[in-house]
């Protein structure tokens, strides 16, 4: 059980990185997880195809908020091309804990929001991300 709440997750939950919103984001997208009401918004500043700044805002359980915090930290400085390649496994690896089907959705909400926002820029459908 302690596995489910590694210190790193609690740390990101209680001291979220890149928390807030951007004044003039190039990409902004938000979504709910209707099952638990978790909500995440992600704002990106993109310069020459590179993510130069990222912020997240929202509310929800530690898993959903910590994954958003870790994800924003992870993508700053990366190109949108690279960001687009980020898959579910990468997020689960960052979290580093086993998750059941319900909490999986909490864990992947931030990625879902990010992908929808990033693909939206290219006119891709936003809901390709896995369940």
């Amino acid at each position: 059980m302690e596995d489910l709440y590694r210190d790193q997750i609690i740390d990101h939950y209680q001291n979220p990185r890149n928390h807030g919103t951007l004044e003039h984001p190039d990409i902004s997208y938000e979504e709910d997880n209707p099952v638990c009401g978790d909500h995440i918004r992600i704002d990106l500043k993109v310069d020459n195809g590179i993510v130069t700044d990222a912020r997240f805002a929202g509310h929800g359980c530690s898993i959903s908020q910590a994954s958003a915090s870790m994800l924003t930290e992870d993508i700053i400085g990366k190109s949108l091309e690279v960001v687009r390649q980020i898959g579910k496994e990468h997020v689960l690896e960052m979290l580093g804990i086993p998750l059941g089907p319900v909490r999986m959705k909490c864990a992947l909400l931030a990625l879902k929001v990010l992908k929808a926002g990033a693909y939206g820029l290219q006119g891709w459908p936003g809901d390709e991300e896995e369940e």
């Binding site: 709440y5 609690i10 638990c36 009401g37 929800g60 359980c61 530690s62 909490r103």
Partner: protein, 411 residues
């Protein structure tokens, strides 16, 4: 703590209570969402399928007659359980939600006009809000909500000013599934009748936990679900006053609900079958009949007395936990076996996950009462709920689990 129920004996009747979760003995504190089932209920359904299953009301063969007798026998026992004047007033549905929809869409469509008002309370479950909103939208009626305070007590002075000749129906839960508040339904019924409005009681929580007598309440409709009262899923009840049910148009059309059908039209069957189109949930209704016998043998006053004791103990123990905020009534006389709370800044889903690791099942979220949560300024809450098989030791396990969660989330 002395209990009015022999809880050890009751626990032996519920096979699932022997199971372990994450290698710890299960502590099931989610009965308000759905209760567990005693072996007699499971066995009755099993036995029915093994010995007497056939379709009801159709055949003249032995199995069909047996099935019909069991099905209609269950209806009679359920009618007695809520002191219905006649079992013809007991209509089988899938659940409380379907029962409320039945009233909204048959009685509601036939009787509500533009400008009429539907009066609910602020603490209703989505099941007793959404069907009325749908109806209101369709006919141009208005849904209004009687305020409740932070403990869930109804503002009875607002009730008086909100009840007018425009009010056509009042919908109220006899017990709130979030706050546990036991509502003054007799008083509300009397006052509503004073302006000529009907009263629908959402008994989804009240019927499993409190003695419920429809004639004493004086209400017009009562909706409840089998699965929250030791019965199976897939079976619920709408009780209604006979004159009203007689005058209402049917809900769904099909087999069993007709007397005669021609290519031009149909004549409706008599009560209760007018409202039971198609093959019903036969095994489930039999299971609910046995569940009702099980609860009757314990005695609903004793069930209530047990739950009053356990909620009083739980409220005391929970109040000791630093950072824990309880919502709902302080007074166990006015509260059912539901303890809803928040703990520090720990999200209810995290809390539920940590407790699950300890074998403890609680509910986290908005409990199908989003408007109430918003009013209370909460996104979500945690709910521990009790039933006939709940023990004070389980409250103690819950408290230990809460301290564990606090230590994990300690900065």
């Amino acid at each position: 703590m002395t209990s009015t129920l022999d809880v050890a004996k009751i626990r032996a009747d519920f096979p699932i209570l022997n199971r372990r979760v994450h290698d710890k003995p299960l502590v099931f504190l989610d009965s308000a969402a759905s209760s567990q089932k005693p072996a007699v209920v499971i066995d009755a359904m099993d036995h029915y399928y093994r010995t007497s299953h056939a379709n009801v009301h159709r055949g003249v063969h032995t199995l069909s007659e047996e099935a019909t007798a069991l099905y209609e026998g269950a209806r009679r026992r359920i009618g007695k359980f809520i002191n219905a004047r006649s079992s013809r007033e007991v209509i089988f549905t899938r659940n409380a939600t379907e029962s409320i929809n039945l009233v909204a869409f048959t009685w509601g469509r036939a009787n509500l006009r533009s400008g009429d008002e539907i009066l609910l309370t602020e603490s209703e479950h989505h099941s007793n809000i959404v069907p009325w909103q749908m109806l209101a939208k369709e006919v141009g009626a208005i849904v209004r909500y009687i305020p409740v305070d932070a403990q869930g007590y109804l503002d009875t002075s607002a009730l008086d000013s909100m009840l007018t000749v425009k009010t056509k129906i009042v919908g109220i839960a006899s017990m709130s599934n979030v706050l546990g508040t036991i509502m003054p339904i007799e008083e509300v019924t009397q006052r509503a009748h004073g302006v000529g409005a009907l009263v629908l009681i959402d008994g989804a929580q009240g019927v499993p936990h409190l003695p419920t007598d429809v004639q004493a309440i004086g209400c017009d409709f009562l909706a409840f679900s089998g699965h929250k009262m030791c019965g199976p899923t897939g079976i619920g009840v709408l009780w209604g006053r006979r004159e009203l049910l007689e005058a209402m148009p049917p809900f769904l059309g099909g087999g069993d609900m007709i007397r005669t059908v021609t290519y031009e039209g149909a004549e409706w069957n008599e009560l209760p079958w007018k409202f039971e189109a198609g093959t019903p949930a036969i095994a489930e209704s039999i299971g609910l009949g046995v569940a009702v016998d099980y609860l009757s043998a314990l005695g609903m006053p004793a069930v209530r007395a047990h739950e009053r004791e356990i909620i009083a103990y739980a409220l005391d123990r929970l109040a000791e936990v630093p950072g824990l905020t309880l919502i709902g009534p302080d007074d166990p006389d006015r509260r059912g076996g539901v303890a809803t709370f928040t703990l520090d800044d720990i999200h209810p889903h995290d809390l539920a996950a940590i407790l699950d690791g300890e074998g403890i099942a609680i509910r986290a979220g908005h409990h199908c009462a989003m408007p109430l949560h918003r009013k209370l300024g909460l996104m979500a809450s945690s709910r521990a709920s009790f039933y006939i098989y709940s023990l004070p030791e389980e409250v103690d396990r819950l408290i230990e689990g809460l301290y564990k969660a606090k230590s994990i989330f300690k900065r």
